[in-house]
């Protein structure tokens, strides 16, 4: 079995003039929880649709479990559980009908596990999907994505617009999945707190480009957030070689950096701590913007 569950090499995709994905390469190790972050329109969903084989790579290659998901969708999709931001559910079915319907698709569907999840999520078996709340729909979508115990659980903004209770149900499902030996989770979210909680690997997309990718601990150990106090007021952002971003006003400026920076004349460091994912995210996204 290959060590990478998902292997993407030099993937690019254009929509008209817009480069939705620009030369993206990444590997999702088996057994990892891989968090994909990026602002709206950064290319997260586009990337996930390629992994699912819904779109063919224009340039570059995608392998899921070592095979091309476009060439061999059956072998890939039978081992994948997928939940999108707005799960497309058959509105006219009841919960129990939906469960039977899904069972027909997946030879490995586990009816006992499905029933356990249904109870845990508090879903009424005879209710029609049409009348379910947004949170209940998300839970049913999750049940559908999980009950065949997929080797890869793919979640595209699973908790977008949901209340904290449903969000924690979804996180618990992610944790249950990886607790089972060898299963892998790939999920995108703009809620950095969630990503930081459950991921061990992260990647960040910004305007279609991969700007950050690796084990979360390494990334967090690498980036620092330093606050400098200057002797005099600075009317413009001071130049700090090696900084990812520089923000502030007057005498106090906060920089995000991923390498040691040289002391700057006329200033001293008043605070120096590990950067949070949020600091890094805003630093990189903001930093690239200001250069544009």
């Amino acid at each position: 079995m290959p060590e990478s569950v998902v292997a993407i090499t030099n993937l690019s995709r254009r929509f008209g003039a817009k480069a939705a994905l620009n030369d993206v390469s990444l590997d999702v190790p088996r057994g990892s929880v891989f968090g994909l972050v990026g602002e709206n329109g950064a290319g997260k969903s586009t990337l996930i649709k390629h992994i699912l084989g819904l779109w063919r790579a224009e340039t570059g290659a995608i392998r899921v479990f070592g095979v091309d998901p476009v060439a061999d969708p059956v072998s890939v999709l039978s081992r994948v559980g997928y939940l999108s931001e707005q799960p497309d559910l058959p509105e006219w079915m009841t919960v129990i009908e939906f469960m039977r319907y899904m069972q027909a698709f997946y030879p490995k569907w586990d009816p006992l596990y499905a029933e356990e999840l249904r109870r845990q999520f508090g879903l009424d078996r005879d209710k029609r999907i049409r009348v379910l709340s947004k949170g209940q729909r998300a839970k049913l979508g999750l049940l559908g994505a999980q009950a065949h115990r997929p080797d890869l659980l793919l979640l595209d903004e699973p908790s977008s617009g949901l209340d904290p209770i449903v969000r924690s149900d979804i996180l618990a499902a992610v944790i249950r999945t990886v607790s089972e030996e060898g299963r892998t989770v790939f999920f995108s979210s703009h809620l950095l707190e969630e990503i930081e909680r459950v991921s061990d690997h992260i990647a960040m997309l910004h305007q279609g480009k991969l700007v950050l990718c690796g084990p979360l601990d390494e990334i967090k150990a690498q980036y620092r957030r330093m606050t400098l106090r200057f002797e005099t007021q600075q009317s413009t952002a001071p130049a700090v070689p090696g900084a990812v971003s520089v923000r502030g006003a007057g005498r106090e400026w906060t920089i995000i950096c991923n390498q040691a920076i040289k002391p700057i004349d006329g200033s001293h460091v008043i605070d120096d701590q590990a950067a949070s994912l949020n600091d890094i995210f805003i630093g990189i996204a903001g930093g690239v913007h200001s250069l544009a």
């Binding site: 929880v33 924690s168 990886v178 701590q273």
Partner: protein
């Protein structure tokens, strides 16, 4: 034992977990011979990656704070309780120092910085530069 982690802080979650387990021992919330939840249970309760819990448990074991027994979980070791008593004493000293500092109306950040500065100057004093003394 109530554990609360803050993913938004720059401190890695496994370190936060280690600190909190130690704190729970120091305050007597868990005692010698008691058992910590399994890795999986702890991960589901805290909603964090099971590998993070496993890593924290491994480090706690290396520090001699817990003992991992295969199949039956993580137990608090005896030697820790003695240490915990000392920490409880130390904590009352910290409390009274903070009570006195309260008169100066400092922010938490300022107090933290004062403590950090003091600690690092002591570290510097200890380092081998005695030639000039």
């Amino acid at each position: 034992m109530v554990l609360r982690l803050n993913p938004a802080s720059g401190v890695p979650l496994y370190l936060q977990l280690i600190e909190q387990v130690k704190h729970a021992i120091e305050t007597g919330a868990i005692e010698t011979g008691e058992q910590l939840p399994s890795v999986r249970k702890m991960a589901e309760d805290l909603l964090i990656n099971p590998n993070t819990v496993a890593r924290a448990y491994r480090d706690l074991e290396q520090e001699g704070i817990i003992e991992l027994k295969h199949g039956s979980g993580a137990f608090i070791t005896d030697s820790v309780t003695a240490r915990a008593k000392i920490m409880t004493k130390a904590q009352t000293i910290v409390q009274s120092a903070l009570d006195r500092l309260a008169l100066f109306d400092l922010t938490e950040e300022e107090i933290r910085r004062l403590v950090e500065t003091e600690l690092s100057s002591r570290r510097a004093a200890k380092s081998p530069r005695k030639k000039y003394a």
